[in-house]
């Protein structure tokens, strides 16, 4: 981890949707940042504009992929970048999904894995899916359930299409809130897909990311099905500034999300996400 932004070069820009791009970044100098784990984030600095936290959506050797949605001044500047442009990166920050550690504790090893994503919440979860697909024998049944506003708002659409149609170790299902006439898939909230997933609630680790309302609904449903709260891992989002646990902007109750999160167990997150003032 570094406190000073390290220069990275944009090597590829992929337009995911009308307002979302994936930036592939490589160190501009001889040394990059330390290794990132799925679920961790970097502070990405658009020079002259500002810095925002962005989860890694793919980790490939020394290269990092960050998927950014244009919703503000900094994210808009990042979405406007072109190959060859430079950004500053700090990180890696946060707890990550800790699948490896979880496996060591018996949380995920040999267990069914249930990945539930809403909207751009799929970005921090994609490395989980890729890691599981790289070593499917470590896990039981693999499930990816994705909710999106429309089919056009689906990030990594090509990859999802491949995962959905190829009979591999992964069960992948997608649902949308607003179907276009051409859409022939599921319509409804993402929790409706849980019935189509194959998992044993007593032996499942769930990773959930998306809007907080969606996270709460999914976690409650999974609890009801019998998943222990500590095996429901959720990625929360607050206003991260320093990312080093000093400024307190990302404080959620007794948790500093940049340091103690963004991924936390539902046993810890449940009470925090039910307080209106937080």
């Amino acid at each position: 981890m570094t406190g000073v932004p390290v220069p990275y070069r944009v090597t590829r820009v992929r337009e995911e949707t009308a307002d979302t791009v994936s930036l592939t970044l490589a160190p501009a100098g001889p040394a990059g940042l330390a290794r990132f784990w799925p679920g961790q984030f970097a502070m990405v600095y658009a020079f002259g504009v500002g810095e925002i936290p962005v989860s890694v959506s793919r980790i490939h050797r020394h290269q990092l992929v960050h998927t950014v949605r244009s919703v503000g001044a900094v994210s808009a500047a990042l979405c406007a970048l072109r190959p060859g442009d430079r950004v500053g990166l700090r990180g890696p920050f946060g707890t990550g999904w800790e699948l490896v550690r979880a496996a060591g504790q018996g949380l995920a090893a040999g267990q069914d894995l249930l990945v539930v994503a809403g909207g751009i919440g799929l970005a921090p979860l994609r490395p989980v899916v890729l890691a599981a697909l790289a070593e499917p024998r470590r896990y039981g049944r693999l499930n990816l359930l994705v909710g999106a506003r429309t089919a056009d708002d689906l990030v990594y659409a090509d990859q999802i299409r491949a995962w959905s149609t190829v009979h591999g170790p992964l069960h992948c299902a997608v649902t949308v809130d607003r179907p276009t006439p051409a859409w022939r898939g599921h319509v409804g909230v993402v929790t409706t897909l849980l019935n189509s997933a194959a998992f044993d609630p007593r032996h499942t680790t769930a990773c959930v990311c998306g809007p907080e309302v969606m996270i709460r609904a999914t976690a409650r449903d999974l609890l009801h099905r019998g998943l222990p709260a500590h095996r429901i891992r959720v990625s929360l989002e607050r206003n991260v500034r320093c990312a080093t646990g000093h400024c307190g902007h990302c404080q959620l109750g007794g948790v500093l999300l940049c340091r103690d999160g963004p991924v936390v167990g539902w046993d810890r997150a449940c009470s925090l996400t039910s307080v209106r003032e937080l």
Binding site: D177, T192, N195, D221
Partner: protein, 152 residues
């Protein structure tokens, strides 16, 4: 949808067995219309395999799909409440296998056996409540750039 919404977990074994005695196994090709908005709701289904789309007629456009239902889910609730008319249309999106029930026979059984009737009413009510909540959640447009529409 929580697991308690499926008939197999929502109803006690005795009620389930009583209901299933009225079940008929049916199958539908993809594209088959199960029912039409405004028509008499004289049947209902529990999906075994496949997907059923619920849709709403919009003048001048194709029917708008508002929700899809899959394995274990109840297709149709209008049969349970007067005036017993479908509020939506339904179409098989894929080949569908389902249990079909005669609504009049189930209603008669509900009157004849109040405990059974109460269990069925609770089940249908639970399904309705869940679908209402899901519809309200979708009204929030959670995946839009600023969630419920207002910039923070």
């Amino acid at each position: 949808m929580t697991s308690t919404l499926t008939m197999s977990t929502a109803l006690a074994a005795e009620h389930r067995a009583r209901l299933m005695r009225l079940a008929r196994e049916v199958s539908f090709e993809a594209g088959t219309r199960l029912f039409e908005e405004g028509r008499r709701a004289d049947r209902f289904w529990i999906v075994r395999t496949g997907t059923v789309a619920l849709d709403l007629h919009v003048p001048g456009r194709r029917a708008a799909v508002v929700e899809t239902l899959g394995r274990g889910e109840l297709v149709g609730w209008s049969w349970h409440f007067a005036p017993y008319q479908w509020q939506l249309g339904a179409e098989a999106m894929s080949p569908v296998r389902a249990y079909e029930f005669d609504a009049g026979a189930v209603r008669a059984l509900c009157e004849e056996h109040p405990e059974f009737g109460r269990a069925i009413a609770l089940w249908v009510g639970h399904v309705l409540a869940h679908r209402l909540h899901a519809a309200r959640t979708r009204l929030l447009d959670l995946y839009a750039p600023y969630g419920s529409g207002g910039q923070p």
